[in-house]
């Protein structure tokens, strides 16, 4: 039946193309659908799944003890009332943003290289938002009352206060999660139909048959499908910008020195894309090696992702610079002290590690050799993920721990429950990703076929 094209030595230059054009529609479909239709996963992925289970084992007691004892088991207190929970929330939401950027904005910009990475980037978005959502839900202390955040008629006659960015955040993040799931599922329908048509096992076939809703590729269906897909991309594009802007406003609207800056919304959006693309690299580099996807996720992809990371890295650096400028230009002694305290106070190590991880090391991306070297990029992406986590740590902790009055200064130390919950969400994320790799096509089959068709027509 279908056969894969011959090896890379025979006229396929990875750096120059986004798809090996010697594929046929059948061979790409075979290659992608083989993974969910095979009963086993490669060992390294199973190992990641086991590690994820281990971390998930830490999540359970962290949540249970938190619910039994209350948020006092965390390191939060006066003056640092927002600790790991908000750091991790912003970190996860930011990671999610790359998925929407790739699937929506790059679609509108007609970037061909989005096609083979959009599916797992969107999957990553949904799971990252899932992890993010856990933190505010648990931080309210009584998560079973989280619905109090929504406007609904109740016997207490209480209503949300719509002038607060925290309520905007509730609306923005829940809208973002909903629209991301809709977009992701819409993209999956034709691919689920492919899996239904290829499954040999009866129950698997029925499962994919239900999920694909009876998609048959009718011309009438495609017509509406394409309109819906394009409009969803158009709707998601401003949505993703709004979500992280509102997350930025959570901080910027307050009067605490270090949070009281107008640059926060755009600088948060740039940081989100920076960390999200780093996570896309962290996931795609091992996946392309394990599944032999080098003909679909090429060095060209890695090069392009790296360029986006370099651009957003520079934007984030501009943000760091502007924070210093604002502190000086405002002539406010509190702002000035805040900046001094960040650099030379008790948390100096976090500021300088942040500059090292997010500012200095990513400058390697100026070199094409680095941008096309998967191994270096993989480690670089992890460094950036750590750097972006440190950025949120610096913003949250160093701003809160010393505000206006020295009498209300204090230190913040995370407890084992903080760490357990944080590492637990990483486990949850990895576990969900492994599960998705097992049951869903992690590269969009119909879009790759379409791209292949388009490229082959050109010759």
């Amino acid at each position: 039946m279908a056969h894969n094209p011959p090896g890379p030595e025979q006229g396929f230059v990875e750096v120059e193309t986004v798809l090996d054009e010697r594929h046929s529609m059948e061979s790409v479909t075979d290659k992608i659908s083989k993974i969910p239709l095979t009963p086993t996963l490669p060992r390294p992925i199973l190992a990641v799944g086991m590690l994820a289970l281990l971390l998930l084992g830490g999540l359970l007691p962290s949540v249970v003890i938190l619910l039994v004892e209350g948020t006092g088991v965390w390191g939060i207190n006066q003056p640092v009332g927002w600790g790991f929970a908000i750091i991790n929330f912003v970190w996860w939401i930011g990671i999610g943003h790359a998925g929407t950027l790739i699937s929506a904005i790059l679609l509108l910009l007609r970037q061909e290289w989005r096609t083979s990475i959009n599916r797992f980037a969107e999957t990553m978005t949904i799971f990252a938002v899932t992890c993010a959502g856990l933190f505010p839900a648990l931080h309210i202390g009584r998560p079973w009352l989280a619905y109090w955040l929504f406007p609904y008629p109740n016997v207490m006659e209480m209503w949300p206060q719509f002038r607060s960015p925290l309520i905007w955040d509730v609306v923005a993040v829940s809208t973002y999660a909903t629209v991301s799931i809709l977009f992701w599922f819409t993209g999956l329908i034709p691919d689920l139909a492919t899996l239904r048509d290829r499954a040999k096992n009866k129950f698997v076939k029925i499962g994919y048959g239900i999920a694909s809703m009876g998609w048959r590729g009718s011309a009438r269906h495609w017509q509406r499908y394409e309109i819906a897909y394009l409009l969803l991309a158009g709707l998601s594009t401003p949505l993703v910008v709004s979500v992280h802007s509102i997350v930025g406003l959570d901080f910027a609207v307050s009067v605490i020195p270090g949070w009281h800056v107008t640059i926060f919304p755009p600088y948060f959006v740039a940081g989100a894309i920076f960390s999200g693309f780093a996570m896309v690299l962290t996931l795609s580099i091992p996946l392309r090696a394990l599944f032999g996807w080098k003909d679909m996720i090429t060095l060209n992809h890695l090069n392009n992702i790296s360029k986006v990371m370099l651009a957003t890295c520079l934007m984030v650096l501009y943000g760091y610079g502007m924070e210093i400028f604002f502190a000086w230009y405002s002539a406010s002694e509190y702002e000035g002290y805040m900046k001094f305290n960040r650099m030379y106070g008790p948390y100096w190590w976090s500021y300088w590690s942040l500059i090292l991880c997010n500012g200095v090391i990513p400058q390697l991306l100026w070199f094409k050799k680095v941008r096309t070297s998967p191994v270096i990029l993989f480690f670089l992406s992890i460094v950036i993920n750590i750097g972006m986590w440190l950025e949120r740590f610096v913003i949250v902790i160093t701003s809160l721990h010393r505000d206006f009055l020295p009498s209300s200064w204090g230190m913040y130390y995370p407890t084992k429950y903080d760490w357990g919950l944080y590492l637990g969400t990483i486990g949850l994320f990895l576990f969900l990703m492994v599960g998705a790799i097992k049951v869903l096509p992690m590269i969009s089959q119909f879009e790759v076929r379409e791209l292949l068709h388009k490229k082959q027509r050109k010759h």
């Binding site: 529609m25 406007p151 719509f162 309520i167 923005a172 590729g217 509406r224 409009l231 949505l239």
Partner: protein, 187 residues
């Protein structure tokens, strides 16, 4: 091959080797005057809807309406809550402080428009529809990989099995089959 039990016949389905020949065949079928036609492909084939004479979809208008409904819904909700149900002064702003309502209005617009796009697409496409007679076509599982199919249904006023078959074969079909409405109907 005139059918006596015409009610159990869905129509004639032809398979084509690629999108271009499917498109060309669609033009010929429409010129021959058939209207109850459809095409099935693993990728969207551009120009196919025009070739088959399928009307432009109303979906985009529906999404616009959804967006407008979301915007006014979001504004109305915040007005009702902040002015009518629970009026209280926050940082000295008037009760109807509309600039601080903009973020939620925007989110509501996107949310309802996205619902309109996805669920509007499902409803107009009549999905989910797990069973459809065209699935009885031999080799139809290729329609989600690399098969291109064209159907002329029996409910077409001009339908005549042998004439349809001849037309499709002339248009370059690699296989033409008369398909029943039920899986066990004879071909």
């Amino acid at each position: 091959m005139k059918e006596t039990n015409n009610n159990s016949i869905y129509g004639v389905v032809a398979e084509f080797p690629d999108g271009e020949s499917l498109l060309a065949a669609a033009h010929r079928v429409r010129e021959a005057g058939y209207t109850a036609t459809d095409a099935f492909s693993p990728i969207p084939v551009h120009g196919l809807t025009e070739a088959l004479g399928i009307k432009p979809s109303k979906l985009a208008g529906l999404v616009l309406l959804g967006g407008i409904a979301g915007a006014f819904g979001g504004l109305g909700l915040q007005y009702a809550v902040s002015v009518e149900f629970y009026p209280h002064i926050v940082s000295g702003r008037p009760l109807f402080s509309w600039p601080s309502f903009v973020p939620v209005i925007f989110e509501a617009t996107v949310l309802i428009a996205a619902f309109a796009a996805v669920f509007g697409m499902f409803i107009l496409n009549r999905l989910p529809e797990p069973y459809h007679p065209v699935f009885n076509t031999p080799n139809f599982q290729k329609a989600s990989t690399d098969g291109f199919f064209l159907s002329i249904e029996a409910r077409d006023p001009k339908y005549d099995a042998s004439a349809v078959r001849a037309l499709l074969e002339k248009a370059g079909a690699v296989a033409v089959t008369e398909v029943g409405k039920h899986p066990d109907d004879p071909e």
